[in-house]
């Protein structure tokens, strides 16, 4: 049961929703070890995305929607997360190409490309206390689930769960990239806001898959 454009746009809408709901939480996390704008930044970006989503042509494929998110985030978010998350979507869009339906392998490719895009721009390594610490376990878990022959929905659920654990696992870390790196030891005990928002994005993907499985043609 592959996932198509309905899933993709549902994922995006759910992300916008969940980012808006968690705006204050993300701002608070970022106030603690950054500059207090992460929730505001993403909320501004996804609000702009929502406004554009209806303009997608009726024959749009998942890659088109991902590219729209990419360019919109890049041109509205700013900060570190704008180029990073934007590039994630841009590379994800490239990875799925013109494919109208994404199977498990395509989803793993999408997630892997997204993560690689963030690394390409931000040069962070796992354990640096960045969004990579949510994305990398998510990519690994999705690949394992896919190798186990799990469904698309199960693959995304595995990714989301791993991202959530990854985000939580940033708490004891010292940061080596981004603003939190200025804090040294004092970042310990705080969750990385970008890892947290990444887990929200991935949970939205899984929720959308659970919900729309069967609706896509």
């Amino acid at each position: 049961m592959s996932l198509g454009i309905t899933w993709t746009t549902d994922w995006i809408r759910r992300t916008a929703q969940v980012v808006s709901e968690h705006r204050v939480e993300l701002v608070t996390l970022d106030r603690e070890i950054g500059d207090g704008d992460h929730g505001e930044n993403l909320d501004r970006g996804y609000t702009a995305v929502l406004a554009k989503l209806d303009d997608l042509p009726t024959d749009a494929v998942p890659g088109d929607a991902l590219k729209l998110v990419a360019t919109t985030l890049i041109s509205t978010v700013g900060g570190a997360s704008g180029p990073l998350v934007g590039t994630a979507y841009l590379k994800a869009a490239a990875a799925v190409g013109k494919e109208p339906e994404l199977d498990g392998a395509a989803l793993v490719a999408l997630l892997t490309a997204a993560r690689d895009g963030i690394v390409l721009r931000g040069k962070a390594e796992p354990g640096d206390k960045t969004m990579i610490d949510a994305w990398t376990p998510a990519v690994d878990a999705s690949a394992a689930a896919q190798a186990d022959g799990k469904s698309e929905a199960e693959i995304l659920d595995a990714a989301a769960t791993a991202a959530e654990q990854g985000a939580k696992a940033t708490e004891p870390l010292v940061a080596r990239k981004g603003r939190a790196s200025y804090l040294g030891e004092r970042a310990i005990g705080h969750r990385d806001p970008g890892a947290q928002s990444s887990s929200l994005i991935l949970r939205a993907a899984a929720d959308a898959a659970a919900d729309v499985v069967g609706k896509d043609a």
Binding site: D35, G79, Y182
Partner: protein, 333 residues
């Protein structure tokens, strides 16, 4: 949160309207996308200089647009780097055919967004070079951090590179002078109180009534250490020590001493700080030949101060003294 604002979402939009109304003799403001250019931009044959970054550090950068300094400033949302679009638009607006320098403070967001804008400008055949400012000695410059931050030294780079461009230096030369200033300036700051980002509505951090944050960043990022309040002289000594250690400032050197207010500090306090800083430098045989005191690179209403020391030579001194006509820095015309 008590602020003289309307909707937090409109802070930057409304401020630039006011800025244009107040300084229409010096600048023109584009509102969509938002950037500020000097009135006579582009100046044909002159290297264009663009800087920018999150808002909330005023007068940086808009207050430094004008003759002898920046050609354009690109203000992002409060404490958030602008996106590539307005940076690209500003770059095009100031391109006089001699190339454009981007002066970028070293924050991941600024670096990435300016980088993208530079790529896009190159695609439109505008030669863009970037100089990354990282003068903040509070942060260890190591593999384990995002590198030093760009703070108050930025205003010195903008003034001096601006003068080089104004006298007709080519892009290589302007880049070289900007890099030289960045290489020779060191800054360290302290916060007595936090700032409140309008959309956050809460203080960026919490300090007890008797605590100060040594090595504060200009976005309310925590610094090196939190200590008990001390007399001003002791604080100045703490700020100057890592500056003087870091660069081999030597007896006999001429320097520019900048005491920069973080936004909410009364001017008397800046001068009390200046007094001690000048005293310490004099004891080390370092001569303060140029000075700057005031709010130049701020963090909204934060109370605190940063001290910058720039090692001067004849060229830098001459460029510093050259005429400048901006909203926030002006002499010689």
């Amino acid at each position: 949160m008590k602020k003289l604002i309307n909707d937090p979402k409109n802070v930057v939009d409304e401020a630039v309207v006011g800025f244009e109304a107040a300084h229409g003799d010096i600048v023109t403001v584009s509102h969509d996308p938002i950037y500020i250019v000097r009135k006579d931009a582009p100046v044909s044959g002159k290297v264009g200089i663009v800087s920018g970054g999150g808002s909330g550090h005023e007068p940086l950068h808009g207050g430094f647009v004008g003759f002898g300094m920046l050609d354009a400033a690109v203000p992002g949302p409060v404490f958030t780097s602008p996106t590539p679009d307005p940076i690209l638009a500003a770059t095009k607006a100031v391109d006089g055919g001699a190339g454009v320098l981007h002066i970028v403070k070293n924050y991941t967001g600024d670096v990435l967004n300016f980088e993208t804008a530079a790529d896009l400008a190159a695609a439109e055949d505008i030669e863009v070079r970037s100089v990354i400012i990282d003068d903040d000695v509070a942060v260890k410059d190591s593999l384990y951090t995002a590198g030093r931050r760009g703070v108050a030294g930025t205003v010195l780079v903008e003034k001096i590179a601006g003068a080089a461009a104004e006298r007709g230096d080519d892009l290589d030369a302007v880049v070289a002078v900007a890099e030289k200033v960045n290489a020779q300036v060191r800054t360290m700051g302290v916060a007595l109180t936090p700032c409140v980002v309008p959309h956050a509505g809460e203080p960026s951090f919490v300090l007890a009534d008797d605590e100060i944050e040594i090595g504060i960043g200009i976005h309310g990022e925590p610094g090196r250490e939190r200590i008990k309040l001390e007399p001003a002289d002791a604080i100045v000594d703490r700020l100057l020590a890592p500056i003087l250690e870091d660069l081999p400032f030597a007896s006999g050197d001429d320097v520019l001493l900048l005491v920069n207010g973080m936004g909410g500090t009364p001017q008397v306090e800046l001068y009390i700080v200046f007094r001690r800083a000048a005293e310490v430098l004099a004891e080390k045989g370092i001569t303060v030949t140029r000075t700057l005191v005031g709010n130049f690179v701020t963090s909204l209403e934060m109370q605190g101060v940063s001290i910058s020391v720039l090692k001067l030579d004849d060229e830098l001194t001459e460029l510093w003294d050259a005429p400048v006509q901006t909203a926030a820095l002006r002499w010689g015309r």
